[in-house]
Assembly symmetry: C2
C-alpha cells in the first residue's frame, strides 16, 4: 500500500520547536456527544455598553475612566501578571527547586470604540490603525524588555472575558519558554544553512502550494506542515523582516489586507465569530536590539483557533495530548484547502 | 524587600521538561466575568442507561454488544487515533517536511458497571480492581509497544464525551513527545547524580513538607514545585519503581487508598465531581523492557485539573500561555495547603 498523508496515521516534525505531532486523518468521522460551546453572537453585543470596562468613557474597576477614544486605546492591565519592580530570590542552591525573578509589564489595547466589531469585521483602514499601534508599542517597549508579547484571546472559549475587540501586550525581562526554544532552533538552522528557517520554509511552501490560505503582495497565510490546532495558521512576510517595527509602509498596508482576508475566511468557515488566540513572534528586543546576530529570526504571527467541526464543537487538547503527544485529525492540507476555498466577503457583510 | 514565593511574581524551573513556569501570586484577586462551565452533576447521571455505549449490555456504534460486565471491562476504541498496521512514508529528503509512520492501538477501559460512579466515589476495593486491570494491560501490551499511555479524561470540560467512569490506553511504536523529553532529562540527571531525579525530588519534598497533599505507607501525592495547572498533582511511590507491573501487592493496595484520598479531596475542594486529565508515566517498554538502563525512570501519575476558583471557573491556558510561557496565579504551596486541609470523607458520602 502506498503511504498517503491524507489517509494514514503519521507523525510530523515541527523544526521550530523540536516536537512531533500525531496526525490521525482517518478519525474525522468520529461522532461527538461531548461538550458543546456557546458561540459569541456579535449581533447580541451592543455597540456601546457604558458598563463594559473597555468602552470609551467607561470607568474601570480601579476607578480610572477611559477617554472617549475614537481609534485604538492603550492602558495598563488592572490585574497584571507581571510587575515592573520586585525583589529577586536568592541564588538557588538546588537544581530541583530553581526559581528566578520575573519582571515585566502588561498592557491592554482596544482595537476600536465599538464593542460589536472584531478585526474580521473592521475594514483594512481600521486594521491598519491597530498595526500602527502595535508598531508604536514595540518602539516604546523594545528598549526596556528582552521580549514583548503581543497576543489576542478572542472568544469566551479562549478565556476572553470581554467581547470588546482588544489584545494584550505582556513584556518581560526574560525570554519566555516558547521563544527560548524557537530562538535556539532557528539559530541552529541558520548556522547550518546560512538562511533563516522560516524564509526557507516559506519559499518551499510557495512552490508546493498545498497549504496556502491567502497570498497578497507581501504576505502569506498558510497552515504550517506541523500545525497542531485544526485550523491553525501562520502569517508571514515574503521578505526577511526581524521585527514589526521594521515593516515598511507597503508591507504594513498589505498586512491589514492579509489579516482581513484571513479573518474573514475564519469567520466564514463555520459562520461564526471565529475564536482563537493569536500573537506575534519576532526577534528579541532589549539587549538584543543591537548587533547583527538576530538574522535567524523571521517575523510571523500565529493563529491558534480551537474549533474543529462546527461553531460549537472544539478540539480538546487533553489526556493524550497533555501527557504524551499533540494529536490532530484533519490534516494541514485539508484545513488549508477548506479555508482557501471560502469566499473573501464576510458572511455578515450586508450588516456592517 | 525580602523575596517571598507566596507574594512576588517569579519563574520556576521544571527539571523534567526543561521548562520555566511563570507564577503571579498577586493576581488571584482578578475578577472573572468570562466563560463559566457546566459542572457534571453525577446525581443527574442514571446508574444504568442502556443507550450509553459504555454500559454493560449496550450496543456500540460499530454493532458490538458489551457483555454484562461486573467489574472493569476493556475493549478496542471504535475510533482509534492509532492503527496497528499501515504503510510507512518514504525517506524524508527535507528537514522542514519530516514525517514518519505512527503505529499503535487504542483501548478503552470501563472502571465499573455503574455510570454514576467515579474513582472518587468508588471504594478502595473497586479502585484496586482498576489498578489490577491497568497492570494486566501493561503486561499484555508492554512486549509489543515502546510506549503504553494510560490516561483518563474526566468531565465534559476535559473533552470527555461520556460520564461513565472509564479511561483510555493508547500504545505506540514511538516514544511520544512528552516522554521523549522526560526520558532525556531524567537520564541526564541520573548520569550526573547516580540517583533517579524523581526519587531525589520526593525525598526533598518529604523533608520540606510544603507541597504534600496526601501521604500513605507507600505513596505520596503532592503539588509539584513546577506545577502548571492550579491544582495539579503528582502521585509517586516512596520506593524506586520502574513500571506499574513492578508494584508489589502492598504497594498496589496502598495505591488504591492513596488515589481514594486524593480524589475525595479533589471532589471536596469545590464540592463537584472534579474534572481532570490524568495519566501514568513510567519506564518505556517494548525493546526497552530488557536490559538495565531504565534506572533513571520513576513511576508516577500526573493529574491536570483545570478548575481555578469554583466548580465552574477554570484556568484558561490561552494567548500568553500558548505563545509565550505557562502562567499560574495560585502558588503550588497554597494549592497543596488547601487540598491537604480538606476532609477525607467525600462530600456526598451519605449518598453512596
Ligand atoms: O477519545 P475521546 O475521549 O473521544 O476524545 C478525547 O480524548 C482524546 C485523547 O486525549 C482527544 O484527542 C480528544 O480531543 C478528546 O475529545
Ligand atoms: O488577562 P485575561 O484576558 O483576563 O485572561 C486570559 O488571558 C491570560 C493570558 O493568556 C490567561 O493567563 C488567562 O488564563 C485568560 O483567562
Amino acid at each position: 500500500m502506498q503511504f498517503e498523508l491524507s489517509k494514514h496515521p503519521h507523525r510530523r516534525y515541527n523544526p521550530l520547536k523540536d516536537e512531533w505531532i500525531l496526525v490521525s486523518p482517518h478519525r474525522m468521522s468520529r461522532p461527538w456527544t461531548g461538550q458543546v460551546e456557546k458561540p459569541t453572537q456579535s449581533s447580541l453585543v451592543p455597540r456601546h455598553d457604558p458598563n463594559n470596562p473597555l468602552s470609551p468613557g467607561a470607568v474601570r474597576s480601579n476607578g480610572s475612566k477611559n477617554p472617549n477614544y475614537t481609534s485604538t486605546y492603550i492602558f495598563d492591565n488592572d490585574f497584571p501578571a507581571l510587575l515592573f519592580e520586585g525583589p529577586a530570590p536568592e541564588e538557588n542552591e538546588d537544581d530541583l527547586f530553581k526559581v528566578e525573578a520575573a519582571r515585566g509589564s502588561c498592557k491592554v489595547m482596544c482595537f476600536h470604540p465599538f464593542s460589536n466589531l472584531s478585526l474580521a469585521t473592521m475594514d483594512p483602514g481600521q486594521i491598519g490603525s491597530v498595526i500602527d499601534s502595535w508598531i508604536d508599542l514595540m518602539r516604546q517597549l523594545s528598549p526596556d524588555y528582552l521580549w514583548v508579547q503581543i497576543f489576542e484571546n478572542k472568544g469566551a472559549v479562549m478565556g476572553c472575558s470581554n467581547p470588546h475587540p482588544h489584545c494584550q501586550v505582556w513584556s518581560s525581562s526574560f525570554l519566555p519558554q516558547e521563544i527560548r526554544v524557537k530562538d535556539k532552533k532557528q539559530r541552529e538552522y541558520f548556522e547550518k544553512h546560512r538562511k533563516p528557517l522560516l524564509c526557507d520554509y516559506l519559499s518551499k511552501e510557495l512552490e508546493k502550494k498545498e497549504r496556502i490560505i491567502v497570498e497578497t503582495n507581501h504576505w502569506v497565510a498558510l497552515v504550517p506542515f506541523w500545525a497542531v490546532w485544526p485550523f491553525e495558521s501562520m502569517l508571514i512576510p515574503k521578505q526577511h523582516v526581524l521585527r514589526l517595527q521594521d515593516l515598511n509602509i507597503d508591507q504594513r498596508k498589505d498586512l491589514a489586507l492579509a489579516m482581513k482576508l484571513l479573518l474573514v475566511k475564519y469567520d466564514n468557515l463555520f459562520e461564526t465569530s471565529f475564536p482563537y488566540s493569536m500573537g506575534w513572534h519576532q526577534a528579541p528586543t532589549g539587549s538584543r536590539l543591537e548587533g547583527n546576530s538576530e538574522e535567524h529570526w523571521q517575523l510571523h504571527a500565529l493563529y491558534f483557533p480551537p474549533l474543529l467541526r462546527s461553531s460549537n464543537v472544539k478540539k480538546f487538547m487533553v489526556g493524550y495530548e497533555m501527557l504524551a503527544n499533540a494529536q490532530r485529525d484533519i490534516t494541514a492540507e485539508e484545513a488549508a484547502r477548506r479555508l482557501s476555498s471560502l469566499p473573501e466577503e464576510h458572511y455578515l457583510s450586508k450588516k456592517f
